[in-house]
């Protein structure tokens, strides 16, 4: 089979978490009845004027700082002209020549063979714009219904360079971006509600050849669809070229039911948007002082936190990366470590990635609403570290805390008598009893069967209802059998 190189660029529409719209004072709360949150500006009544929401600009500055982009001291709003019923003005207010953020980049992990390596996806720009309304095509007796609640919702459109070479890289970038915008608190990240939507520009070429003609897949609102749509599109384009046909630039839609992409019916002039500066809006000025003020309020960023967890707490790069994929997880870990002590950091990381993560996944819960708090987990880990709890007993404590049966690990230990037996004078008589009752096992052990030893350990653990310190039982038992 001949070799093809895939080139992908993404444009992501991130809905900004503001209370009101970007150019009007209408609410942006999700789920209102149709058109209850569409004011005179949003529905474009004559004589209205847009007034820019300061918080939307703050979100853009935060993003620019987080991706190390250039924040424009002056940026311009432009009108993007097209006709569609859910865009009542006949133009969308966006930014064109001078966007609020230019450049910057995002690091992703990619697999080359077996070894994961870092790759930087460069960003072209990020610009502020308003969302359109929604068109509903069903059930209106042959009419289209228009809901303008979403019209005027602030968006940050984030555009990458064509730096991704596979659907897996595109998904890795989209996940990294999703994690970042939720981390810095500019987007709620809810993909079902459309708060984070991706368009993928896909083309293929022979290695070293000029860029192929691209097709743009619109409106992908899940990571799975993003992957499926790109994979389908790559296969389709390669097949077209190999069968001697040409790729024509087009906008395509992905149908999740069939797993296929198909070109939208569109007029050739659909992309002639005739951008021009919006005379209703003056240049947006962002002073260095304002940038500094926003910077001061920015949380520690995921990569910085990851590096710190490795350096301060000795976590492996892998553990630190997993724990900092979500800000809530990073904060959880930080709080737990501050309570349990840095020496228990690794143990906390293990419990977070083991039992806690498994339970959260099983119940489809987010760490932000984990029934076990960071402080509770820290308390439990301290009791493991000081020998009070074996890992088996700790699981029982974990269960009790998860089911909200007690306020902390010590209360569970107290109420259930779960304290690990680490007192040799208490364990020894039990070992003696077990040995007296199992002469056959002793013989087998002396004949060289290690299995028989394990059986004896098992008997002691059973006799202590699992509370004996297993390591201590091992040591004591060996000493007795040797003696």
């Amino acid at each position: 089979m001949s070799q093809w190189e895939v080139v992908i660029g993404l444009e992501t529409h991130v809905q900004l978490q503001t209370k009101s719209k970007i150019f009007s004072g209408a609410s942006t709360a999700f789920g209102a009845e149709p058109n209850r949150q569409a004011c005179a500006v949003d529905i474009a009544l004559p004589g209205v004027l847009p007034v820019l929401n300061r918080e939307a600009v703050v979100c853009a500055i935060k993003f620019g700082l987080a991706v190390d982009g250039d924040i424009a001291s002056r940026s311009i709003f432009a009108r993007k002209n097209y006709f569609y019923p859910d865009l009542p003005k006949g133009y969308q207010i966006s930014q064109y020549e001078i966007p609020v953020v230019a450049g910057g980049g995002l690091d992703i992990k990619v697999s080359r063979g077996d070894t994961p390596t870092d790759k930087r996806v460069r960003l072209t720009r990020a610009h502020l714009e308003e969302d359109a309304g929604k068109s509903l095509h069903e059930d209106f007796h042959g009419k289209t219904g228009i809901d303008l609640n979403r019209a005027g919702t602030p968006l940050l459109e984030i555009v990458t360079e064509p730096d991704m070479g596979s659907s897996a890289e595109a998904v890795a970038y989209a996940k990294a971006l999703h994690s970042l915008v939720t981390w810095i608190g500019i987007c709620d990240g809810n993909m079902q509600e459309g708060s984070f939507r991706c368009d993928a520009n896909v083309s293929v070429r022979r290695p070293g050849a000029p860029l192929g003609t691209r097709r743009e897949i619109k409106n992908l609102n899940s990571f799975r669809f993003l992957q499926q749509a790109i994979d389908y599109e790559i296969g389709w384009q390669i097949n077209e070229i190999e069968e001697g046909r040409k790729i024509h630039q087009a906008t395509v839609l992905f149908d999740p039911d069939t797993g296929a992409t198909r070109a939208m019916r569109s007029k050739e002039d659909a992309h002639d948007y005739r951008y021009f500066p919006d005379p209703d809006l003056l240049p947006l000025e962002i002073t260095p002082a304002w940038i500094d003020e926003v910077k001061a309020g920015l949380p520690e960023l995921p990569q910085a936190m990851q590096a710190r967890f490795e350096a301060e707490y000795g976590l492996s790069a892998y553990d630190a990366a997993v724990i900092t994929t979500q800000r809530a997880a990073g904060d959880f870990f930080q709080l737990a470590v501050s309570v349990a002590g840095a020496e228990n950091a690794k143990l906390i990381a293990n419990w977070m990635q083991g039992e806690l993560s498994a339970r959260l996944n099983r119940e489809e819960r987010d760490i932000a609403d984990s029934p076990i708090s960071a402080v509770q987990l820290a308390g439990m880990v301290r009791r493991i570290a000081d020998g009070t709890l074996s890992s088996k007993l700790a699981k029982e404590v974990f269960d009790a805390l998860w089911n909200l049966e007690a306020a902390d690990a010590d209360a569970v230990i107290e109420a259930r008598g779960l304290k690990q037996m680490s007192d040799a004078s208490a364990i020894e008589p039990i070992i003696d009893e077990v040995l007296a009752a199992n002469p056959k096992s002793i013989e087998e052990f002396r004949a060289g069967k290690e299995k028989a030893f394990n059986a004896l350990v098992g008997q002691v653990m059973k006799a202590t209802k699992g509370k004996a310190n297993p390591q201590q039982v091992n040591d004591l038992l060996r000493r007795k059998l040797a003696g």
Partner: protein, 95 residues
């Protein structure tokens, strides 16, 4: 620079304006008059002048992020050609 009738028709199409052949001629002449005026402006030497989006040197005023607009759907929909279920109804749009 001047526009030919084909370009005038395309601009009209983009603006969703229907022009008769006579109108196309008349409007073409008017547009070309404007372009001639722009050509005169372009004769000015603007080397070293930063392009500006607005004629006045003022920056955008910003609004505090507070939801202030009341729900006025009923008043707005009273003047709409057709509504139903809270929606504005328009002729069927495909895609």
């Amino acid at each position: 620079m001047s526009l030919n009738p084909e370009e005038v028709r395309r601009i009209a199409q983009l603006a969703r304006l229907e022009l008769s052949p006579q109108e196309t001629g008349r409007i073409g002449d008017q547009l070309n008059g404007i372009l001639t005026f722009v050509e005169q402006l372009q004769a000015v030497d603007t080397a070293g002048v930063t392009p500006m989006a607005h004629a006045i040197d003022v920056v955008q005023r910003l609004r505090t992020d507070v939801a202030t607009e009341p729900d006025r759907r009923d008043a707005f929909q009273a003047i709409a050609p057709e509504t139903g279920g809270g929606l504005y109804l328009v002729p069927k749009v495909i895609e």
